[in-house]
Amino acid sequence: MKHTIAVIVENKSGVLTRIAGLFSRRAFNIDSLSVGATDNPDYSRMTITVEGGEDVLEQVIKQLSKLINVIRVSELQPAESVERELAVIKVAADRENRSEIMQIVNIFRASIIDVSARSMIIEVTGDVEKVDAIVQLLRQFGIKEMARTGKVSMVRGARVIKV
């Protein structure tokens, strides 16, 4: 079972190492991890996807909360939150198949951000399943390179994760 947790951390050097170190030491499985700024320059926000049962999730949250630089940890229930991931995908594309690829791009409301005689870079944003789906479809043309951000997630409605 996959769980998504949002972690607000102090924006200091070494914090990412502490979090990654904790996951490896406690043998927790990280599926994805994304990190970036928040509105407050003192804090960063991580979205971490972990694999495991409820007991693992409980330990992950408690152990993360023990780190001095971690301000807040909360689980994001999939039904109550929105999630997005961005991917850029370099696909082998020539005159023959370029239009077919563009059709797929349109269907997924993705966009083409670079074109050359033998390749295209496609940018797609959406939930993880959507990104997985377009990747699956593009695979037939040959994916030369791909970079995914890992997902970011936020609770729907007016509720916020207080710092």
């Binding site: 190492t17 330990q59 301000i71 710092v163």
Partner: protein
């Protein structure tokens, strides 16, 4: 507050003084020259060790004996890495410690400079927190935070890495307020949870209190005694909890787990309610986890929420400092009379006491411990790790929470002797005795120089059985007596001469009748003293729950076959070496 200008090194000493530090344990090095220059001019006592591992264990022993934060200092690179085992030991046993390491100049960090090691990286998984200082301006804040973090909540070691240029930078010293938004050690028990726990305790017919090291750190032993007496509930302790409940009290079950008493383990397995306080259901305590306490509901009090539910399912969790939680519980319970449960436990105690077979000719290690207890009942006991540790836990009657000091979680051989030096620095008026083995004592015997030079009169009782006894015991029981790399025999040095070479007093007992005179002589000595007890090489720690077995499957091992005894004697050559010793 008036501000004054000083160097980073002077600021470090000022911080230590403000935190109430009176002694530090360390060894200097190139990058620490400015800091040691400041130490030279300070009135904080510095104990020069002979290996940094010793410094870490001394700070640890000092902290466990006094409850204060222990401080150790090591230089960059190898000095810092030598602390690692000591830091890990303190981390596993939740000991408040601040480790200060030197680091190369900030502009050299990452360049593989001489004696550079990424010590904050290396110690990341074994510290409660750590800092790499980049500017002397941060020194007051970082030291204040470090001592606060090390000593509050669930205590633990904090490391401060101190680059050389930071120690010479000049700053205006000012003592900051604490600001740690991500650190709120939760201390107060939730009222509703306390009510539920109290109700469960009042309803239970076969309760057992299972107390751990958390009682010591929270200073909650008086509350523990009161609670047990009010409920007439038996108390068993973990190795870390030894001494938190007086073992001469009728409600005491002694230690539980792998080498616990049979009656403690039976009580746990038959119990209908376990009250765990400041303990963490370690595998050496629970045995096979699936069949641990099958009939019991579990109340778990711990200051660290992550411990609750980590190893066992918990019915009533209480996140709180043990003292706070037990006080709250005491307000909610009424006296309960003695019950059939108490009678049943008394029966087990009669049927399955801790025992060994006395011998007229060969010193039994348990006999040495009993004699030590008889002649120095108030002593602070430290231990090494292995059989010596288990016998010290079993056969000394522990009554004081801070008088049994042992590496429980990490199981560090070589811990006991430096820890004894640290404990003696913290409690100079107490007799401090390290109960050691001939294997483990050698791991940090260089600290004899520290004890002699600084006139720290600790006593060491070596239970010299000529082997790495605990591993040998397992080989005997589970590896068909193939004693791979566990027989030390004649390869150990003459411990009496070793003591004398360092300027300490060395004494030896080779027969049971010599045990008492040797102990008396050691206790009468005002010098560091080593007692070399030539003990039976085949004695096993009993009883024993084999690894992975259920607690009730506990084996009594004290009867060893004569023929087998002879076999091991043959390997060890003890009779010969004993004669040589005489």
């Amino acid at each position: 507050m008036p501000r004054s200008k000083m160097t980073g090194a002077q600021a470090v000493l000022e911080c230590l003084k403000r935190e109430g530090v009176d002694v530090v344990f360390g060894l200097p090095g190139g990058v620490l020259l400015p800091l040691y220059d400041a130490i030279y001019q300070s009135d904080i006592r510095h104990i020069l060790v002979r290996h940094e591992q010793g410094a870490a264990h001394m700070a640890d022993g000092y902290a466990r004996a006094t409850g204060k934060v222990g401080v150790c200092i090591a230089t960059s690179g190898p000095g810092a890495t030598n602390l690692v085992t000591g830091i890990a030991t303190a981390y596993m046993d939740s000991v408040p410690m601040v480790a200060i390491t030197g680091q190369v100049n900030t502009f050299l960090i990452g360049k593989d400079a001489f004696q550079e090691a990424d010590i904050t990286g290396i110690t990341l998984p074994i510290t409660k927190h750590s800092y790499l200082l980049r500017s002397a301006r941060d020194i007051p804040r970082v030291f204040r935070e470090a001592f606060y973090i090390a000593s509050t909540g669930r205590p633990g070691p904090v490391l401060i890495d101190l680059p050389r240029d930071v120690t010479v930078e000049e700053i205006e010293f000012s003592w900051p307020e604490l600001h740690l938004p991500g650190y709120n050690p939760s201390l107060k028990a939730h009222e509703l949870q306390v009510k539920r726990a109290a109700k469960a305790l009042m309803e239970a017919e076969r309760p057992v209190i299972y107390a751990g090291g958390g009682i010591k750190f929270a200073d909650a032993h008086q509350e523990l005694v009161k609670l047990a007496k009010t409920l007439n509930a038996p108390v068993t302790t973990t190795l870390m909890g030894v001494g938190t409940y007086p073992e001469d009290d009728p409600l005491s079950l002694g230690m539980l787990g792998m080498h616990g008493t049979k009656y403690a383990n039976l009580a746990i397995q038959e119990s209908d309610l376990i009250l765990a306080v400041g303990a963490r259901f370690d595998d050496r305590v629970t045995g096979k986890i699936a069949s641990f306490a099958p009939r019991a509901r579990i109340i778990h009090i711990d200051v660290d929420p992550a411990e609750i539910g980590k190893n066992v399912r918990v019915d009533i969790p209480v996140v709180a400092d043990a003292k706070n939680a037990l006080s709250a519980l005491l307000g909610q319970i009424q006296p309960k009379p003695r019950s059939a449960w108490n009678a049943k436990i008394e029966g087990w105690k009669k049927d399955f006491p801790l025992k060994y077979i006395p011998d007229m000719n060969v010193i039994k290690p348990q006999f040495v411990i009993e004699k030590l207890c008889e002649l120095a009942p108030e002593a602070v006991i430290t231990t090494e790790v292995g059989q010596n540790q288990m016998w010290a836990a079993q056969f000394f009657v522990h009554k004081d929470p801070r008088k049994f000091i042992s590496s429980g979680g990490l199981g560090t051989m070589g811990y006991g002797f430096p820890a004894a030096i640290g404990a003696k620095m913290g409690c100079p008026d107490s007799e401090v005795i390290d109960i050691a083995g001939d294997g483990s004592f050698l791991m940090n015997c260089q600290e004899l120089a520290t004890a002699v030079v600084n006139d720290i009169p600790v006593k060491v009782a070596i239970l010299n059985n000529g082997c790495l006894g605990m591993v040998r015991q397992w080989q005997e029981l589970f590896f068909e007596r193939r004693y791979s790399a566990t027989i030390l025999g004649r390869t150990s040095p003459d411990f009496v001469k070793l003591a004398e070479a360092f300027g300490a007093l060395g004494l030896r007992a080779s027969k049971p009748s010599e045990v008492e005179p040797v102990i008396r002589a050691a206790l009468a000595s005002d010098r560091p003293t080593i007692m070399d007890f030539i003990v039976s090489p085949v004695e096993k720690v009993s009883p024993m729950v084999p690894a992975g077995a259920t607690l009730s499957e506990i084996l009594e091992l004290e009867w060893c076959e004569e023929s087998h005894a002879a076999h091991v004697h043959g390997i060890v050559g003890i009779p010969g070496s004993m004669e040589e010793c005489l």
